[in-house]
Symmetry: C2
Subunit: 321 residues, 2 copies
């Protein structure tokens, strides 16, 4: 009942590789395994393209390129610990960009730290700025970034779609715990969001599903927490979707049919707000960060959600005291 | 920065008074002080009517009548502890009704327990049922009740208005920390929400405001947490407002001008959804409880809130690590 789907995310760009002719990928599995374990997760599998190593984790994913990496963890992991492991090998001068994100959680009391504590730890290691996108009492995203000028490449776009309250067939498919990964892909098409990607996926017990998809330097990743009452799916990609953003979002939400979803976009140029049929744009926060990215956080809600009965917490007898 | 305005609430009806010819009010200040202190709060002042003792607390309020009491606490208090003190004096047979509520919080990680842990404690003392009104990822109210048939009197109506994101003049007045209670009442009219009530109020350092109002067996109470980024006001009354519910709500939100608010209504007959000018009914949960009350939880949002810039967490350097 109590699996926290909401994720933390760490993105780091280093210049160490250019200086030394080295690549982050050469650090080897043991380094990344140590970083992952410091966050209370573990590596389940690995898939590689010529440009990227994609690790599927017990709690989400890690992608490593020559000069940058992206780590996403859910559950009760403490992702801020990864920064400590990073600083064992890298000096602040060797880090060009560091962004730490944390989404509002379903079960925040069960977390080891909250965002305010995390930025206390980060502040000891680097200068930085912290933001909340969205209102504190509603859907929101916390973001901390290293305060250092950085110019991202023009195609350095990241799209996150965070989906809540899954409806219809996909909720039943992912929630049943009865399908293997082949059948899930066949029924839902999660392996075909973009064409030409190789797939590494995992079905969790008693339920839950993770997918990494890789095509050269581009990835997409999907993590499904189907638990009733706290259902959640995240989709993330660095595929440059800015030209067809509404279409991409439409394709993803068609699979999961969420009651509401957030869109987080890191982009060189700020896109205009757009319509999603059947959904209402409830709020939008925009900020150009001094670390070179523009960030947009938007919350969409299904037009059909107004009245509902109260949700009875049937499992309450099994809660640890 | 980190004051948690969101409240827990405990309502208890006993039959001990009828049996023994005794009144809860005769238990005396020392008993109630002990109960309040068990929750990490303290009594600041007391005002009485012929039917009710109203205590203003360091964290919200306590109202005691002959056969029932209502305790509301905010901050990092552990209100579930009050039930332990209650059971030192009363047996389960002497308790006709017990309802424990908990609102979603701004800083849930800073709480001693979460609702799931609270119901673990309550379950050891009594049979009960637990509900969540509203979606887990949005505004919601947790409610636990003793599972025992109870017939509330026909006028046993409770209205709670929980207001978020204060706008305009009242936010400035309450947030400034520069006005005394007389001036606050004069500028905002919080002492005149209903006519003919005696008032006991308190201005907190560095900011914050609490008010108890009493007229015979009727009360209303207001608690203001004006901190920027997590501003919150609760209004609650047992005044029978069902005949003019929209007017009463309109009067209260006119004072505080929230960006959004929740309405919680305990009522013998379920009221119809109603319109509030300038606001949109975003969701509504209805449940008839087996303990005799119908409960409605509604969330309203200002129509003018869509676009906003990200909120920079300027105070992050002062956060405890």
């Amino acid at each position: 009942m109590f699996f926290e789907g909401s994720e933390k995310k760490l993105e780091v760009v280093v210049n160490w590789s250019q200086e030394e002719g080295l690549s982050l990928r050469q650090l080897g599995d043991s380094y990344w395994a140590r970083m992952v374990e410091a966050c209370q997760a573990k590596i389940l599998s690995k898939m590689s393209s010529p440009s990227c190593d994609a690790y599927l984790l017990s709690e989400s994913s890690l992608f490593v390129w020559d000069d940058h990496f992206t780590m996403i963890t859910c559950g009760q992991t403490t992702l801020v610990n990864a920064v400590r492991i990073l600083f064992e090998k890298f000096s602040l001068e060797q880090i060009d960009s560091l962004i730490f994100e944390r989404k509002n959680e379903y079960f925040p009391h069960r977390q080891t730290t909250d965002f305010y504590e995390d930025i206390g730890h980060l502040k000891k290691l680097m200068p930085g700025r912290a933001f909340r996108f969205g209102r504190a009492e509603d859907h929101h995203l916390f973001l901390f970034h290293l305060d250092k000028p950085f110019v991202p490449p023009p195609d350095d776009v990241t799209l996150e779609i965070l989906m809540y309250d899954l409806q219809g067939e996909s909720a039943a498919i992912f929630g049943s715990g009865q399908y293997d990964s082949k059948k899930i892909c066949q029924l839902t098409g999660v392996d075909q969001i973009f064409a030409g990607f190789q797939i590494d996926d995992h079905v969790f017990e008693p339920c839950g599903y993770s997918l990494n998809a890789l095509n050269q330097e581009k990835y997409y990743t999907i993590h499904v927490t189907p638990q009733e009452g706290s259902s959640y799916v995240s989709f993330e990609t660095n595929f440059d979707v800015c030209q067809e953003l509404p279409q991409t979002i439409g394709r993803v939400i068609e699979v999961f049919k969420p009651g509401s979803f957030d869109v987080v976009l890191f982009h060189p140029q700020r896109p205009l707000p757009f319509e999603v049929p059947g959904f209402e744009l409830r709020s939008q926060s925009l900020q150009d960060l001094t670390c070179g990215y523009g960030v947009t956080f938007s919350h969409y809600e299904s037009r059909r959600r107004v009245a509902e009965a109260a949700y009875e917490i049937k499992e309450w007898t099994s809660v640890r005291p």
